[in-house]
Amino acid sequence: MWQFFHKLGSPKWFFGIATRFMPWLLAAGAILLMAGVVWGLAFAPKDYLQGNSYRIIFIHVPTAFLAQSIYIMMAFAAVVTLVWRMKLADVFVKSVAPVGLIFTFLSLFTGAVWGKPTWGTWWVWDARLTSMLILLFLYGGAIALDRAINDEKSAARAVAVLVLVGVVNIPIIQYSVEWWNTLHQPSTFKLTEKPSMPAEMWVPLLLSVLGLYCLFGWLACVRMKTEILMREQKTRWVRELIMAERG
């Protein structure tokens, strides 16, 4: 079991796997996301209360969902960085942090634009919105800290500690709508219950969540490959790989 774990940590092995999976991730992601968005925008029925403005949900929920799951993945990678000193885990954290930042920003932005016609305000300091803003700062902090420290290994450790400290924010985001009185409504998708919308609304939503997940996978692969190339360009396997490539 540990052997497999260490193999997983090998940049060369990852490079090969990523190259093989990337076209599939890109195709699946683009198709699923397009299907979800087109269905949601043009074919799903409008909501009885909010009318058509609820159609923002088909990008608001996927970005918010990804913003949180990327952070959870980064936290796992941070544990691996601190305990096993695995280089690939640090490559992952460094590569996906900007993606998480953009998705968090998108979920805040789409939420604000959705809030204006429905709630009557762009922003309100309720627990859900504030904890999501903290997530944005955590992503920003991780990126800034990594840039501020020149030494690769100390940067990796410092960022891992910051990411781990910030992970307590995730359950707060998740349960804020249940623990406190918030303006934000509870989640539409729950693990234990049926979604609180009919199938012709939740199926496109699920499609766009899955699609964005695949596109995130593709983004993580490209960005990690770039990072590996920059770090390992003096090794023989990178040299051989690149010289063998056409063009």
């Binding site: 799903a44 403005s53 159609r55 953009i102 770039t226 190339l229 040299r239 490539e245």
Partner: protein, 77 residues
């Protein structure tokens, strides 16, 4: 189709500006991030390649030096 005409689809009963702003910003940022990531990858790959080819031509057919300055991984445990 939930809308009767294309103009109704654009207008979204008055909510159009909100919905389309969201989708536009989402598309621009997502596609921008993907294009930027891909271009950066291409740039780094070609930079590496250029460097290797340069090294090859300058070193030529001389035998490899006995010692190099490549990073050596030392296990900490």
């Amino acid at each position: 189709m939930a809308f009767e005409s294309f103009s109704a689809f654009i207008a979204m009963e008055g909510h159009g500006p909100y919905v389309w702003t969201c989708y536009a910003v989402f598309a621009v940022l997502l596609i921008g991030l993907m294009v930027q990531s891909y271009r950066h990858h291409r740039a780094v790959t070609s930079a590496c390649k250029r460097r290797y080819q340069q090294q090859k031509s300058t070193v030529g057919n001389r035998p490899k030096p006995a010692a190099t300055f490549t990073r050596v991984e030392v296990s900490q445990d």
